[in-house]
């Protein structure tokens, strides 16, 4: 079976949110800048709570921020 990974649009959404910095997003979500960087690089799958918090910051539904593929 093909290995599936959680992908995300955080980098693009940060860009559309006025080049919001990783540090700013991390502060608003409650995680470190390094965790946001790891998320964008696909090196970390966040908890459901963290995923919802990120979607909330961008005002998007969860499936527009994260996709399973």
């Amino acid at each position: 079976m093909r290995e599936r990974r959680l992908a995300n649009e955080i980098r693009a959404l940060r860009f559309h949110a006025g080049e919001m910095t990783q540090e700013e997003l991390g502060r608003r979500v409650g995680v470190t800048r390094q965790t946001i960087a790891a998320l964008e690089a696909g090196k970390y799958s966040p908890s459901l709570e963290c995923a919802f918090r990120i979607a909330e910051v961008f005002g998007k539904p969860l499936d527009e921020v994260f996709r399973w593929g």
């Binding site: 502060r27 470190t32 390094q34 690089a41 970390y44 966040p46 908890s47």
Partner: protein, 141 residues
């Protein structure tokens, strides 16, 4: 680099270097000075453990100083720490079972002390190495 990642790197390197030197010295003196006094043996062990303690404390304090004002720990740090600790625990358990339940019937004295120290070091190295891997290569549930 996060302070936790930096600390793990320093700690693993220190363990390998300091305990590597210690076990090399112990092996060497076993052949060159087999009648080494108890005080000298305890002194060697104290120097090795003291060096480990000082470097660990220094690295931890430096990390605290670097990260002041930042979020101290988040879910990713906790996930990585939990997974690393869980695996290192089983390594330590295997080592302690061997040194505590097998070695007393076949070995004695300093050999048991050194085996116990060796397995503690191996468990700590596994712990630190898994933390490094967690940060560098990624962590997925």
């Amino acid at each position: 680099m996060l302070s936790k990642e930096r600390f793990a790197l320093v700690w693993v390197t220190t363990l390998v270097v300091v305990l590597g030197l210690y076990f090399a010295a112990v092996t060497l003196t076993h052949y060159t000075h087999p009648d080494l006094s108890l005080l000298a043996r305890i002194g060697m062990l104290a120097v090795a453990l003291g060096t480990l303690g000082m470097i660990a404390l220094g690295a931890w304090l430096y990390g605290r100083w670097r990260d002041r004002g930042e979020i101290a720990e988040d879910e990713r740090d906790r996930f990585i720490e939990q997974r690393s600790s869980k695996i290192a625990y089983y390594v330590l358990l295997a080592g302690i079972i061997y040194t505590g339940m097998v070695m007393p019937f076949t070995h004695g004295g300093w050999e048991i002390v050194h085996a116990a120290l060796f397995f503690v070091a191996v468990a700590e190295i596994v712990h630190g190495a898994l933390i490094l891997m967690g940060y560098r290569r990624g962590w997925h549930a």
